[in-house]
């Protein structure tokens, strides 16, 4: 079954422990540890050895989305420690200023496609130069970002075809026009089903929907239905793996 779980940031922002606790309670099989703000990175990296992640099939780490105080080199020093533990690291392409230095992360570097606000990384054409410069890097496909950039899902299809051999993780949520990640609605779910066959059944899925704790289970069910990988039970509920 496909590993699936939440980003700790979506459930509890910078409080990774709470974000982890909330979803381990419902028995997820994947987690993304989020350090979206630069002041969260060192704390989270230092805590990695103390976290009990043994029940999970898949764990990834989300690097900061913006660097203001921290240098690129300093961030890479922290991320190399994450890569050493063989944890995939999701990175927004717009923080990559010096691609040469990012090669040290090898295949543990996952480059994510961006939402419409960012000037790069939104389409296959805009991602291609990054992958050309970082040939070992893999692809984190944010399906919500792709739909916000192009509701026809044409951009999504292009990325899934061009980077299919690099695909390592899916980010799933609905992304509104103001770029906020919210619970997946019916229209978004229909669009996601449109491209589901291009996503291998083993690719881990990380939900970024910002939902309340009591909505976690339901959102996992909706997510599974988007990717058409599970059966409905007799009551019409979808089984969470």
């Amino acid at each position: 079954m496909r590993p699936i779980g939440f980003s700790t940031g979506a459930l509890a922002k910078g409080d990774y422990q709470e974000g982890l606790r909330l979803q381990l309670e419902v028995g997820v099989s994947a987690v993304e540890l989020s350090a979206l703000r630069e002041n969260e990175v060192e704390i989270l990296v230092a805590a990695l050895s103390d976290l009990d992640l043994s029940e999970l099939q898949y764990v990834s780490f989300h690097a900061p989305s913006k660097l203001s105080e921290m240098s690129e080199d300093h961030l890479l020093g922290c991320l190399n420690e994450v890569a050493r533990r063989e944890i995939p690291i999701v990175v927004h392409p717009d923080i990559i200023q010096n691609p040469d230095t990012w090669r040290s992360l090898g295949r543990w570097l996952l480059i994510e496609n961006m939402d419409q606000r960012k000037p790069v990384g939104r389409t296959a054409g805009e991602l291609r130069p990054f992958f050309n410069l970082l040939p070992e890097a893999r692809f984190c496909f944010d399906i919500g970002h792709a739909r916000q950039v192009d509701p026809t899902m044409g951009v999504a299809v292009e990325m899934l075809i061009e980077f299919r051999d690099r695909l390592a993780e899916i980010h799933l949520s609905e992304v509104r026009s103001d770029s906020r990640h919210v619970a997946i609605g019916e229209t978004a779910a229909a669009a996601y089903r449109h491209v589901a066959s291009l996503i291998p059944e083993t690719t881990p899925v990380i939900l970024e929907s910002m939902v309340a704790p009591e909505q976690i289970r339901h959102e996992l069910e909706v997510a599974q239905s988007c990717l058409s990988l599970c059966q409905q039970d007799r009551d019409g509920h979808l089984a969470v793996s």
Binding site: P93, Q97, T123, E126, R128, T152, G154, L198
Partner: protein, 373 residues
């Protein structure tokens, strides 16, 4: 240190001409071993004007869910000394009364440039809503203005601000034509086929331009009729050529190898729409050059592009252009400049007939199958 803003891909920028590799027109020149200097000069000139206008539009980049789109010779990369700037303020999101004020500010910014403003029909230099462009295809709501804007979005448009809104609207228009209008017959039989809905609207637009030419000649008492006449025979006809080739390309060069084996029909159709999107981002001359390289001999390329080159040369010649502006219908028959351009347009027509009917069996089949009935 590399700046991420520099990390744009050449092939994705072929539409704007910012990529490093040769574009199909330049490639064709090299293949044929002939230069078309007026076309090259116009393409070079476009780069400068485009950069200047992008800078002017810079302050409008931050307005969410909007973009400024240019049409006409700028988008075709055929800028000559008499070109004007046809633009629209494209809104693809929540309606906001503030957009009206922004439209004024954009008009003001363009009026401060040295370039001529667009005509007074209201098709350009105005706000355009994606809702009308995407939803009003055919039917009573599809006005002449809406049809013009929609088809020109596909055939000759370029973004002067961040391209995300512009490209999103183009993809959604193509979705209406291609994905929302699936063929009745089985997808397994022939998955990549000429999209008839799109083709019909391309033909409708071409015939509308021809009819509107006669209407304007009548209503405006022959004012500027010569320039309209010549443009109809050359640059407007070239637009129709691009529209035809976009549709025919679905069968001429099917993107079959892009999909995994056994892909679902909806993905096949989506791939077709994606293919059309890529073609729509090419200039008419680049798409024509690509087809000439792949489906015609060098002589045909020369027969088509040489008269087009001469046509652009005449448009760029201020003296000739001013002369044509003032020329009356009665005097035209004896006028040397007009007759020179008429002859050019006849040669262009003959070259196109040779391409579509005499060069390539498959292209001829498509022209006969879809071009008339």
């Amino acid at each position: 240190m590399a700046n991420y803003l520099m990390l744009t891909d050449a092939s994705d920028d072929r539409a704007t001409g910012e990529g490093d590799g040769p574009l199909p027109f330049e490639q064709l020149q090299a293949n044929v071993g002939q230069e078309w200097p007026q076309i090259s000069a116009a393409r070079q000139c476009t780069k400068g004007v485009d950069a200047e206008l992008r800078e002017i539009c810079g302050p409008f980049n931050e307005i969410p869910e909007t973009g400024i789109v240019a049409f006409g010779s700028l988008a075709r990369k055929e800028w000559t000394s008499g070109s004007d700037v046809d633009w629209a303020f494209l809104v693809d999101g929540q309606a906001d009364p503030e957009h009206f004020r922004i439209e004024d500010q954009i008009a003001q910014a363009f009026s401060e440039t040295k370039y001529a403003p667009p005509g007074s029909t209201g098709t350009f230099a105005a706000m355009a809503s994606s809702h009308e462009l995407i939803h009003h295809v055919g039917g009573l709501e599809d006005s002449n203005r809406n049809l013009t804007r929609r088809i020109l979005m596909l055939l000759e448009s370029t973004s002067l601000t961040d391209r995300v809104v512009h490209e999103r609207v183009i993809r959604q228009i193509l979705q209406r034509y291609i994905v929302c209008d699936p063929a009745v017959s089985s997808m397994e039989e022939r998955p990549f086929r000429v999209p008839r809905f799109l083709l019909n609207d391309m033909v409708r637009f071409w015939r509308t331009m021809a009819v509107d030419y006669a209407t304007k000649k009548w209503q405006q008492r022959e004012k500027k009729w010569v320039l309209r006449n010549i443009k109809l025979r050359m640059s407007r006809k070239l637009l129709f050529v691009k529209g035809l080739l976009m549709c025919f390309d679905c069968e001429l060069s099917p993107p079959a190898d892009e999909l995994p084996e056994g892909a679902e029909p909806q993905l096949v159709v989506q791939t077709l729409a994606n293919r059309c999107f890529k073609l729509s981002r090419m200039t008419p001359l680049d798409l024509l050059s690509q087809v000439l390289s792949e489906h015609a001999d060098n002589q045909t390329a020369v027969e088509i592009l040489t008269p087009y080159d001469e046509f652009l040369g005449c448009l760029h010649d201020k003296e000739k252009r001013e002369h044509l502006k003032e020329l009356s219908f009665d005097d035209a028959r004896e006028d040397d400049v007009f007759n020179e351009l008429r002859t050019i347009s006849h040669r262009f027509q003959e070259g196109l007939e040779r391409l579509f009917f005499d060069q390539d069996e498959e292209l001829f089949r498509l022209t006969r199958r879809y071009g008339v009935f």
